[in-house]
């Protein structure tokens, strides 16, 4: 009796162990497939940026066996025109010269607009979030919903009034103009995020500091702010991503002096066809700065993205 029972128990344990191990393997395989789905387009894009002209348009798709070339990168990052490269390599001009695909200034515009606006958003959102969290304001619900609703404004509808505003203020085609609107665009999410994070920090902490003679600002800077690093990181990451990705405002408000990378990329689609090689090179390069930024702060991202919504 006992022997049978213990045998059954052993079988049970073994079955559970086996299932557990099988589960781990299946989970790993599942994660690999998911990751493949997310990485394949990027991999393909990067591969295309190394392909010579003809191979990009090859069907069936070419994965290996082509002669990798850096000529797209040399044009996009160093400003060497197609013609110059042709002369260097063959000593003669055989093709039509590609126009101006030198893109470093556009990348710089994008980086500056995204970084500066992110910095401003993070500071303003932390302060406003603290204010909304700590003070009893009449009609607070309405203020919060109004802040949220500013994000609901369709950018297409905002573009024309903004254009006229900028025209009269001399802000058209300036980085400053882009920074100003990017801050406005990202503040709602930032303020809501920071408010919910400050709500999670007990008020007693601040009160203790206040009793000890600190000003409100010192209580904020030296006490409350210490507990919301994850929120600050999430705010910064999201603000950076959204500013970096923004297309429509940049399309309408920027010009030769301030054109951002996404808008520049869209101009590679010409009436003669799309310059896939230059596009792939630009797109691949453009992933590097954001990737660095994300790697730097990404372990905060998952915690920060709770959006504080679990507070009861």
């Amino acid at each position: 009796m006992v022997a049978i029972a213990s045998a059954a128990y052993k079988n049970g344990v073994n079955a559970i162990r086996k299932r557990f191990r099988l589960g781990r393997v299946l989970m790993f395989l599942g994660s690999c497939i998911v990751t493949l789905f997310f990485l394949f387009p990027i991999y393909w894009w990067f591969l295309s940026s190394l392909k010579p002209f003809g191979e990009i348009f090859h069907s069936p798709p070419v994965y290996t066996g082509f002669e990798p070339t850096l000529s797209w990168y040399r044009t996009v990052l160093l400003g060497e025109s197609y013609v110059t490269q042709e002369i260097q390599s063959t000593g003669a001009v055989t093709g039509e010269g590609g126009g101006s695909y030198y893109s470093v200034p556009f990348l710089m515009n994008s980086i500056i607009a995204a970084l500066v606006s992110t910095l401003i958003v993070t500071v303003l959102a932390a302060m406003a979030g603290y204010g909304l969290s700590r003070f009893n304001i009449r009609g607070k619900v309405h203020i919060v919903f109004w802040i949220l609703s500013t994000r609901m404004m369709p950018p297409v509808a905002v573009a024309i009034p903004l254009y006229l505003m900028y025209q009269s203020a001399g802000l058209l085609d300036t980085r400053l103009g882009l920074i100003l609107i990017y801050v406005a665009m990202n503040l709602p999410l930032g303020v809501l995020l920071m408010k919910s994070f400050f709500d999670d920090v007990p008020r007693d902490f601040d009160d203790a500091a206040l009793v000890d003679g600190a000003t409100r600002f010192q209580a904020f800077r030296m006490v409350a702010l210490r507990y919301v690093w994850a929120g600050l990181a999430a705010t910064a990451i999201l603000a950076f991503i959204f500013a970096w990705n923004e297309f429509l405002f940049a399309l309408v408000l920027s010009g030769d002096h301030s054109r951002t990378m996404p808008v520049a990329a869209s101009t590679f689609v010409t009436s003669y066809g799309t310059e896939w090689g230059y596009l792939a090179a630009l797109g691949s390069t453009a992933m590097i700065p954001t990737l660095l930024f994300i790697l730097f702060v990404q372990h905060h991202l998952v915690r920060g993205l709770t959006l504080g919504g679990l507070r009861e």
């Binding site: 997310f38 990027i42 950018p155």
Partner: protein
């Protein structure tokens, strides 16, 4: 004397410094900059749009002519608006549905801590940091009817035919063509938010449920889902706003609203009305129409799920 009244400031501090610190005792200085900033960039454009919606722009004379309610009447009589609304709703609901289900699945998977989860999670951030305009161009290359890599495999698997490719043809698959980049790019956003939510759930209820013999489905249905609801609602709200307003980037580059008007979403039609047909008055009406839809949606969502901020 006043020291004794305010009480909370250290008595040895010089009086001018103490007063400087007191500014921060009320809510105003904390909020003023953010509120003014948002007001400048929302109230003026809003009032401008309302004002302009009562004018039409005459291209010949280059002047605005008062038009009364003409633009507003046109909104209800213009079949393109209702087509655009239907296309937008289809796009938003399909996009949201797919991203929510996939995102939830991925979050549940990664929450089990598979081997290498750190790498998998970081890899997932990558699509989000490529500008949608560039993503649209990437997918244009990959969805190209003759040399696109996705098209190639879709033909092989019999999902598509060269007669009805992603882009072009009669546009049977044009909706899929603009949804694919959106799903690829923003499913990670959903997954990360839900994953963050899962990670912050308390452990006790789950342990108790295990002891009581609840199976995995019951634990998910009666514990995970209700506790996660606030996070889900916020994620849905922000995704819907973006699906509704920012589908523009994909449509502008991938399909330009075509073929026919199969992918003409509201934001793209508003763009056409404003910039292509230079009908600023009507463009303003369309923009306000979109804003109203979003504000109503946001209010309903917050009321129904009793979201507290």
């Amino acid at each position: 004397m006043s020291r004794a009244v305010t009480g909370r400031h250290s008595p040895d501090k010089p009086s001018h410094l103490r007063r400087a610190g007191e500014i921060w005792d009320g809510p105003t200085p904390w909020l003023i900059l953010a509120v003014l900033w948002l007001a400048a960039f929302s109230i003026f454009p809003f009032l401008f749009a309302v004002y302009r919606s009562f004018f039409t722009f005459n291209i010949q004379s280059g002047k605005f002519v008062p038009a009364g309610l003409e633009n507003w009447v046109m909104l209800f009589e213009d079949p393109r608006v209702w087509n655009a609304l239907a296309v937008t709703l289809k796009y938003v609901s399909l996009g949201l549905g797919i991203e929510l289900v996939l995102g939830f699945g991925i979050a549940l998977l990664y929450n089990q801590d598979p081997i290498g989860v750190g790498f998998f999670r970081t890899a997932m951030v990558l699509p989000m940091v490529v500008p949608p305009a560039v993503v649209a161009l990437m997918f244009q290359l990959m969805e190209h009817d003759s040399f696109g890599v996705i098209s190639y495999y879709a033909y092989k698997l019999g999902l598509l035919t060269p007669q009805e490719p992603f882009l072009g043809g009669e546009g049977k698959h044009a909706m899929a063509a603009i949804l694919l980049p959106d799903v690829w790019q923003w499913t990670p956003f959903m997954a990360l938010i839900i994953l963050a939510g899962l990670r912050s759930l308390p452990r006790h209820p789950f342990e108790a449920a295990m002891v009581d013999g609840a199976n995995a489905w019951q634990r998910f249905r009666y514990l995970t889902l209700p506790m996660l609801m606030p996070v889900l609602v916020i994620a849905v709200l922000f995704r819907v706003i973006d699906l509704f307003n920012k589908s523009f980037d994909y449509v502008y580059i991938l399909t330009a609203g075509g073929p026919g008007r199969r992918t003409e979403v509201l934001s793209y039609y508003d763009w056409l009305a404003t910039f292509q047909y230079t009908n600023w008055g009507y463009g303003s009406v369309l923009g306000l129409f979109m804003l109203v839809i979003m504000v109503v949606f946001g209010n309903v969502l917050i009321r129904v799920f009793q979201l507290r901020w």
